[in-house]
Structures are given as C-alpha cells and as structure tokens.
C-alpha cells in the first residue's frame, strides 16, 4: 500500500513536471508502463490474500484513475500551450493594408446614363438607338429644319466624306432617332434615345466636339404639354431628389411647338442661389410638343396624335452631379479621374 501511494505521488509529480509531450510520454511509461512499479503492484495482486487483494486492488484502481486524469489534464495543458505558441508565432501585423482584388469602375457617363434611362424605363419608356452618321433629311429636314432655315446656323455640323454617296453628317442631336422611331412604328411611342452627338466646336471647359444626349419622345392620342411637365418633374425628382421643382420657360426648337427650356431647382443649394446655379435654377434640357410638321413628315396624322419630345445633355448632368469642372476631363481616360468612380453611381 505504501509503495502504491509512493508511486502515485511520484507519478503526479513527474506528470506535473513534464514540459512537453515527449517528457510526458516518458513519464507515462515510467509510471504506468508495463514494467513500471505500478504495473508490478497490479500484477502482484493475484498472489495476495482475498482481503488484501480487494483493498490493494481498489486502491490501485483509484490511483490509476487519478494518474490517468492527471496525465490527460497535463497533456491537454501542454497541447494548449504548444498551440498557443504556434498561433503566437503565426500572428500578423493587422495594420498592414488588406489585400484587395483589382478594382474596376464604370465611366461617370455610363453611371449617369443608366440612372437617367432607368428612370424613364420605369415610367414605361423603351430605349431606342440610331446611327451616328446621319443624312440631312433625318438630322434636319424631317425635324422641320429645311435647307434654308436660319436654325442651321445655330450649330455647325461635321460632315463626312463618302465618295459617291449622298451628303452625310455626324448627327448634331439625338433628335434624329425620333424620326427613325416614328418611321419604324405606329403610335403609341414612348422612347428614350441615349447617344453620341457631334458639333464642330472648339473644345473648352463646357464644349466638346463629341458629347452625349438623351432624347425622349412620346406620341399618342391625347398627349399634352402638361404630360411633358409631369414626366420631367417625375424625372427630376427621381434623379435629384423628392423636393425638386421643375420650371418651364418658352424657348425655340424648330421641331417642337410650343417649345420650352426646362430648369430644375438647384440640387446644390436647394433653389436659393449659389455658385453652381446663380439664381436657384439649373437649365438641364430643352423640350416641347412635337411640331405637327414633324409628325406629318413621319406619316403620322397630326390631328389624331400629339406628342412631346425632350433632349438633355448626359455630359452636362454628369458634370453637375459629380462636380466635374471641365467636360474635357470626361474624355481624357485619366485614371486619376476614373478611379473616383465605382460600379454604382
């Protein structure tokens, strides 16, 4: 019994002193191995008297359980310590910048065009497109700008040299898409046409020989000037915020009558007047009721159908929206500008 107690004492001490898994294994072999004194004692049980055997046997079992528990406990602690060391060695400087996938971006014109087109699509308008090289009829004559119309001097066009063909030009307005749409379908027509247009303009902060417009056209029975105002107001609220107001003033475009220049209350200052707007209003588009002559040019019955049309500069909206000071910055492919943008507006 005394030897048993001594072995238990010795084992607990050895286990507690073991500093790594190897030492613990050695201690286990020394204390509980086949040849250990402890095993000898257990083996000697068979030669004991019934009473001794019961007493010593029970004590040996208890000692074994205690040793086993101590061993497992020590083993677990050693494992935890080893794991802790490993993890500590694996620690990292979390203040280093995170690894990121290469970030791409959409162009501000794309972002703004999607937003604008999206608003009209949700109102039921469909996107229409047309060619950038146009003929005189679609770009001018059908839009109520005959050859000798003074409005032809309002803007200079870029013409292209195509041998043997008719005189062609780079469209000066997306309005030509109005004509192509009406030629290809009967009313009702509800379309928006985003696209690239061209002018013979020297580039400066607000002018570019290439820029982009969004044209809108609605032709149906019973379309009124008030519908135009309603649609543009809904557009302005969707794009610039629910408090937006819209103001129409008389203006002239040969292909609409009555014509209007449309201003929205300044989204920078809320309409009180600031450096962006001056008087609280920002002019963003021209619009009006489709001129009956234009409807007739496309074979529509101008007594039965009425319509409205509008056109606005996508570039202009982009400049306003993002505070870009110079239109040329849109067309420069300058990564320092492009990286200000993401894939959402």
């Amino acid at each position: 019994m005394r030897a048993l107690e001594a072995e238990l004492e010795r084992g607990l001490g050895l286990f507690a002193d073991a500093q790594d898994a190897g030492a613990l294994d050695e201690a286990q072999t020394a204390i509980m191995g086949r040849k250990s004194p402890f095993s000898q004692i257990q083996k000697s049980l068979g030669s004991m008297s019934e009473a001794d055997r019961r007493e010593v046997g029970r004590a040996a079992n208890e000692a074994r359980t205690s040793l086993q528990e101590a061993l497992e406990g020590r083993r677990q602690r050693l494992q935890e310590a080893a794991e802790g060391q490993l993890l500590e060695a694996d620690s990292i400087d979390l203040t280093l910048p995170g690894r990121r996938a290469r970030r791409g971006s959409l162009h501000p014109l794309t972002l703004v065009e999607r937003e604008m087109v999206g608003v009209f699509q949700r109102m039921g308008f469909r996107v229409a497109e047309g060619p950038e090289i146009e003929d005189d009829w679609h770009n001018f004559q059908a839009l109520n700008i005959p050859v000798d119309h003074p409005a032809r001097t309002m803007k200079d066009s870029l013409y292209v040299d195509i041998e043997g063909g008719p005189e062609l030009l780079l469209r000066t307005e997306t309005s030509a898409v109005q004509i192509r749409t009406m030629q290809s379908q009967q009313p009702p027509v509800y379309v928006v046409a985003p696209g690239r247009v061209y002018r013979r303009d020297t580039a400066d902060a607000t002018h570019s020989a290439v820029f982009h417009q969004l044209e809108g056209l609605a032709v149906d029975e019973g379309i009124t000037f008030s519908h135009l105002k309603g649609v543009l107001e809904a557009f302005a609220k969707a794009l610039f915020g629910p408090d937006q107001r819209v103001r129409l003033s008389p203006s002239y475009f040969p292909f609409v009558e009555p014509g209007a220049q449309v201003e929205v209350s300044c989204f920078k200052c809320g309409g009180v007047g600031c450096r962006t707007c001056g008087n609280g209003w920002i002019e963003i588009l021209g619009a009006g009721m489709v001129h009956p002559q234009v409807l007739e040019n496309c074979g529509y019955d101008s007594e039965r159908y009425t319509g409205f049309a509008f056109g606005m500069g996508i570039d202009r909206v982009a400049l306003l929206r993002y505070g870009i000071p110079d239109i040329r910055m849109l067309f420069d492919a300058d990564v320092r500008v492009l990286e200000r943008f993401g894939v959402f507006a």
Partner: protein, 794 residues
C-alpha cells in the same frame, strides 16, 4: 441683340428695373443671356473747360492742360494734344473711376509734372472704340462741372438677348419694347418717324426699278440733300457702342441707329456717285465681281441679288455695299435705301460668301415688309437731325407691301394640346394683348398676322402664343397613361453587360472621342477610315476605325502624369468606309504597367496573357463558348510574337496582343502594353444565355484529382497539348487546369514542363482509382505519341 434699357423705355415706358423686366421677358420667351452695365465702373468724371494747353518741359509727347471744372483750375498731363482752350473735355478727377482702368485715379507725377487725374478718350469712357484723342464735348449742351455719367445717360443697363431664329422681330429695340409693353401692360409708344420734308420730290431726283420681285418685293429710296458728314452726337455714339456697334460717322450711325431701333436695315449711298440716279434691283451676272466695303473682292452668281445703278452694281442686296457709291467725308446728297429682301435669297448669298452682317442677319431671319417705310422715315429724320440737310418729299419706290395673312386657331385644340382649359375668351385676350387683329367664328378664332411676326404660319403657332402669354406656370403636371412596359433593345443591354463584366474584372471604363488622326491610321495600317470633310483640326481628321488607338493615347497620357498601372476598357462605335459604310460597336481593353499592386504584390508587369485572361472572363460571363485564337498578326501595330486574331464562331472578330515595342516608343509609352479589341455584335451573336437547368449540373459525387506534369520541347504549344489531353480524357474529365510552366532544374534545356491539375468525375457514381488510372494511361500515351511528351516523375 443688345438692347439699351433707356432706349427700350422710350417705347415701353415701364418702371420696372432691369432685373425684374428681364425675368418677366424670359418667362415670355425672350432669351436674355445677361444684363450688361457697360458704365458700371464709370464714376466721378466731370465736364471741364480747357483753359490753356502748354508743352511738357520733359517730354515731347506729353502736354500740360489747365482745366476748369467750375470750382477751380486743375493741372492735368495729357498724352495727346487735340484740345484747345475753350473746349469742353471729360476730366477724371483724382478719386474718380473710368471703365478702362482697374483703379481709381489719383494725383501723380508724370515726368516731373503733377497730373491731377486725367483727360479721357472715348474708349476710356466706353463711349466709342476711339483712342485718337481726348473726347471733345462742345456740341452736347453740357456745362463745366456737371457729372458726365448722369448728363450723358451713361447709367444704363443693357439686356443681352440671344434672338432665336423664330423671332427676328427681337432684333430691334422696338420689337423687344413691343413684347415688354405687352408683358407689363404699359402702352406701346409708336416710333416718331414722320420726317420734315421739303417740296422737292425724291422721285424727281432718283428712280427705282425692281427686276426680281420675288427677291425684293419692295424697295424705297429717300433722298436727303446737303448733309455734312462728321461725327454723331456723343449720346448716340454711346448707345451704338453699348448696342455692340461701332460709331463711324453721323450718316452711317443714323442708318445703324434706325436699324437697331426699327429692325429695318438701311443703306446710305452717295447720290452723286449713283450713276443715272437710278437704282436697279437685279440678279448678278454669273461671275460678276464686286469689291465690298470691307475691301474684299467677291465673286457672285446669278442667285445673288444686286443693287445696281445705271452702269454697275453698287451693293450686294441686303448683305453689304460696294466701294463705288460709299458715303465719304465729301458726300453731300444721300440716297437712303430701305427695302424688303426675302430671307432665303439673302441667306443663301450670305452663307455662300461667308459674309453675315448686321443687315444680312436681319434679312436672313425675316424682316417686316411693313416696316420698310418706317425705317426709311426714321433713318431720313435722323440723318437730317444729325447731319443737317433737307429731306425730299416722298420716295423713289417700286414694289408693294404684301398683304397680311390670316391664321385660325380652335380654342378646343389649344386646350387639348396644352392640357388645360384655354377658352375662347382667354385666347382672344392673348391676341388682343399682342395687338393682333382678330375675328371670332364658331369654335374658331381667326388672327391677322402682322408683318413682323414671320413665325406665325399655322394653328400651332397661335397655340404657342397662347401658352407663352398665359404663362407656362399655368401648366398642370400629369403623367401620361403609358400603356407599355419599359425596356431596351438586346444590343443596348448587351453593351452594358460587357461594361459590367469588365469593370468587375478590375478594369476602368474610359470614354474617348470618336476621331483619329492620319498618324493614328498610319500606326494601324487602316486605309478605310471615313474622312471628316470639315474638321476643326488635323487631330480630328477621320473617324476612328478602332477603339484601341484612343486607349493607347490614354495610356501615354496617364504615364506622362505618373500613373503607373493602367487597366482601361471602352465600349464604343467605330466607322469604316465601304459601300455601304460600316458603323459598328466594339469593346477594347488595354493593360499596361504593374499587374498587381500593394505591399505583397508580385512585381510583374501586365502582358498579353493578362489580356487573354480578361477576354476569357468576358467570354465566360457572356456565355460565349465558341471562341479561340486565330492567326498571328503581322501589321505594324502588333508585337509579332505576342499577337493574334481573336475568333468567335470560327470567324475573325477581333485582336489580342501586345503593342509593337517600336510603336510604343513612338507613342511615348514605356513597358509592355497588352490589349484586345473585339466586335460586340459578333460576341452577341455567339452569346448563349445561361442554361435554365443549371442546377441539374451541380455534381453530386466528389472528383478524383490527379496532377500530371509533362516535359515537352519548347516548340510544343500549351494549347495544343491541352486540347489533345482533353480530347483523349473524354467525358470523365470535368476540369483541366494548367497550373505550372517550369523550366530549368532537372528539365533539359530547350524543354519545359507543363503541369496540369485534372479533375475526373462521373455524374452517376464515385469513380474508382482503376477507372481513373486507365484514362491517365491513355492520356500519357497520347501525349507521348503526339508531342513526344514525357511524364515527369512525382
């Protein structure tokens, strides 16, 4: 058109200030771009009498004037000596301000003599663009000591109006006043034009004959005899200058003043120089030449309308006079032309000659045929007033004033178009306010169109008047009953999908101009670019044939700005000549500089395989399966060993490669530039939408993975080896990834090791090792036979 406000108030005596009046006019469709105040910086300049003028002791150019402003005598140094004792001159006292100078004047020493302020020229006072002498004010009825600004009405505001083509009546002070009077409700005061005539008849001195009544329905010539040509009054000069015209002489100023006021262009001929004292309005002879007042010889055609005398042409009708019968200092008698030339003729002539004058601009847009007499009367009166002389009775004239037209409007139609109830009463009020004659029938209002409203031709023109005058604020805001769902054409949506994929792949979208220079075309070797007939500069001489050149220039600009890593794409339109010419949409991308960034990034520049990777991603996202590489490209733009065509559905649809180092150098680009360009329509045609049964394909059984490395000679292409491997493996191979290319070490020189990670899988069961080993053995045998490939141990 610049309208001096005090001038406008002579006809529309409104009390409104410039800003309020401008706002009111804008709301009625007068496009006011701004309000100018040309004399805002003029303050404290007074009239002074010259007492004496003496030499400057230290300068031959300068002189010393002693001037008296009524309160005392002051010494002023002047740079010019056109004034004499007794003359009244503008004296800018110390502390005063003049428009021409940034700071208030002071007393300062000029070459040792103190100058108290300065004496002013017409230019310094913004009265006329004249700087040849001190402005002499003797004939203006002024007193020494009076304030120049208030005495000469120089505190005016000027409305700067952009006149839209439909309203040429706004090209006159009176026309704008007419709108202002209607808008404010003040009565419109007629132009006081009736001249004091002598008994002698104009028709007895001169004659007029019109050969082309279509081009010139009416011509009227007034005669003013015994004029003295000289400068016009200072107030007149100031008004002309503020209106954007240059004062010339009293006769010319009188015609310009009357034109600005009435809108009727006038032309003064020296009667003595008009041969036979007869005006003939006729077409030019083909090739006829005339030196116009601007000293340019013009060649004319039979389309052009001319003013001729008995012998020769003296003016291009409605555009510009010739130098034959020009008014000069010696002119005594004047033939004053006031005519109606139809707009199309003048427009064509002015456009062809590139000669748009104050007169032609008015005729091009349409003048009032009824205003011919008013203009002539007003012009003659002003000439007589400012130049002396007598006005002969009546006029030599030909042609007639065309009758007015009537246009009718249905109030019901107006309501239907505007979306609110206009009502017959409301419409009648509008037309009455505008001064239109009208008569009402059942459901119809007939309106008499005055001659100055060239824009009113049909019903909608009257509806516009109603909307404009009643005010656009009357409009309701309603949404139309759109009976369709919104949408977009597939091609439009596809372009946007491509943008999303490429932005998601880490590229930045650029938008570039559509032009190409001849240099760009030389780089690409494209000889089918469409030329721009009238480019503004050589850089924009052609339409681009491909997107890539613009992106390459973008790379160069970015590098010049110090941007190292450039990954850009563009979706855009290109053009090529042909019959028919081609307009097509492309997507292009360019990669240059470090491929990865950040502290842990491998230091590796982009190359063509990065571009290929982006293309592979694009194809995968778009569902384009049938794509591959075509032939190598040998054109000068491309690196010959790293470029090839891109094929979609077996046809060339684009290019993939790197920029030729020589071209890169020529474009000032450093480092490798990888790029690709491909047609959107080709992609779209080959694009298969994701299968609807996509979830049925998700594998249920685990794959068996095997890595195989083969040693082959350098000439063996990875693609060919992969193709053969895939083909031999058959349907059990679910994925094959080339994960390593290794050279050196135990690999013999001239050889490389290509390592593949292969996944084998069956949709129906877990594969056994035996099945996989059998396939592997076939692969090894096939590659050994086909490529001499040796399976690398391990």
């Amino acid at each position: 058109m610049k309208v001096v406000l005090s001038w406008l108030r002579e006809f529309a005596p409104t009390e409104l200030g410039a800003d309020d009046l401008a706002e009111l006019l804008v709301r009625r469709g007068v496009h006011i771009e701004g309000i100018l105040r040309p004399w805002a910086d003029l303050d404290g300049v007074v009239v002074a009498r010259v007492v004496e003028v003496t030499d400057h002791p230290n300068s031959e150019k300068l002189c010393i004037a002693l001037v008296d402003d009524g309160a005392g005598e002051h010494q002023v140094v002047a740079g010019i000596r056109n004034m004499s004792p007794g003359d009244l001159v503008p004296w800018a006292r110390p502390g005063s301000r003049v428009p021409g100078l940034p700071d208030p004047l002071g007393a300062r020493e000029l070459r040792g003599v103190v100058s108290n302020g300065m004496l002013c020229s017409a230019r310094e006072l913004a009265i006329a663009d004249l700087h040849t002498g001190i402005l002499i004010l003797n004939d203006e009825g002024l007193q020494a000591g009076s304030d120049l600004k208030s005495e000469l009405d120089l505190d005016d505001a000027v409305l700067d109006i952009e006149v839209e083509p439909n309203r040429p009546d706004f090209l006159s002070v009176y026309g704008v006043a007419r709108e202002a009077a209607a808008a404010t409700g003040v009565g419109l005061i007629p132009i006081d034009a009736a001249p004091d005539e002598v008994a002698e008849l104009a028709a007895s001195v001169a004659s007029v004959e019109i050969e082309d009544l279509d081009g010139c329905p009416r011509y009227l010539a007034r005669i003013i005899k015994g004029v003295r040509v000289g400068p016009s009054p200072i107030r007149v000069q100031a008004r002309l200058t503020a209106s954007g015209m240059r004062p010339v002489s009293n006769v010319v100023d009188a015609t310009n003043y009357a034109m600005l006021e009435t809108g009727q262009p006038l032309h003064a001929f020296d009667l003595f120089l008009v041969k036979g004292a007869g005006i003939i309005v006729r077409r030019a002879a083909e090739g006829e030449r005339l030196v116009t007042l601007d000293d340019v010889e013009r060649e004319l055609t039979t389309e052009d309308l001319m003013i001729a005398d008995g012998g020769r042409s003296v003016a291009i009708a409605g555009v510009m006079g010739g130098d034959f019968a020009e008014v000069s200092d010696a002119t005594q008698d004047i033939l004053l032309e006031s005519a109606h030339f139809t707009r199309t003729g003048v427009l064509r002539t002015a456009r062809r000659l590139g000669l748009h004058t104050e007169a032609s601009v008015r005729f091009e847009r349409g003048t009032d045929p009824e205003g011919v007499a008013t203009g002539a009367d007003r012009g003659a009166s002003l000439i007589a007033k400012w130049c002396g002389g007598t006005i002969l009775a009546g006029a030599a004239e030909a042609g007639a004033v065309p009758a007015r037209t009537w246009v009718s409007m249905r109030p019901v139609k107006a309501s239907a178009l505007l979306g609110y109830e206009v009502g017959a009463k409301g419409a009648e009020q509008v037309f009455a306010q505008l001064g239109f004659g009208q008569r009402s029938a059942e459901d119809l209002i007939e309106v008499e169109v005055p001659g100055y409203r060239v824009d009113i031709e049909r019903e909608v023109d009257l509806i516009e008047e109603v909307a404009r005058v009643q005010g656009y604020d009357k409009l309701d805001s309603e949404l139309p009953p759109v009976r369709q769902a919104g949408g977009e054409p597939a091609a439009y949506a596809f372009g946007h999908k491509v943008r999303d994929v490429l932005a998601g792949a880490g590229l930045r979208e650029a938008v570039l101009l559509s032009f190409a220079s001849s240099g760009d075309l030389a780089l690409t070797g494209d000889d089918d670019a469409i030329e721009i007939a009238n480019p503004l500069n050589a850089e924009e001489g052609y339409l681009r044939t491909r997107l890539i050149t613009g992106l390459l220039h973008g790379v160069a600009r970015n590098q010049a700005k110090g941007v190292g890593s450039v990954a850009l794409f563009e979706v855009g339109t290109v053009h090529r000549a042909g019959d028919p010419f081609e307009e097509s949409r492309k997507v292009a991308l360019v990669l240059c500089g470090p491929a990865e960034s950040g502290w842990s990034g491998a230091d590796r520049p982009f190359d063509v395989l990065d571009a290929k990777g982006v293309i592979a991603t694009l194809m995968q996202e778009l569902g384009v399966q049938d794509w591959g590489l075509g032939d190598r490209l040998q054109t000068p733009l491309f690196h010959p060993g790293r470029s090839c065509s891109l094929q979609v559905s077996g046809e060339d649809a684009g290019v993939l490669g790197e920029l030729h180092p020589r071209v890169a150098e020529a474009m000032d680009i450093t480092g490798r530039v990888a790029f690709a360009e491909i047609g959107l329509e080709e992609l779209r045609a080959a694009s298969v939408p994701p299968a609807s049964a996509v979830f049925a394909d998700v594998p249920r059984f685990p794959p068996v993975r095997r890595d195989l490395a083969f040693v082959v000679t350098e000439s063996v292409l990875a693609g060919a080896l992969t193709d053969a491997l895939t083909e031999e493996a058959g349907p059990l191979l679910s994925s094959c990834e080339l994960f390593d290319v290794f050279r050196g070490g135990s690999i013999p020189s001239g050889h490389k090791s290509l390592a593949f990670a292969l996944d084998f899988r069956s949709a129906h069961r877990t594969l056994t090792d035996e099945e996989v080993e059998e396939v592997l053995a076939r692969i090894v045998a096939r590659l050994a036979a086909g490529f001499g490939a040796e399976l690398r141990a391990g």
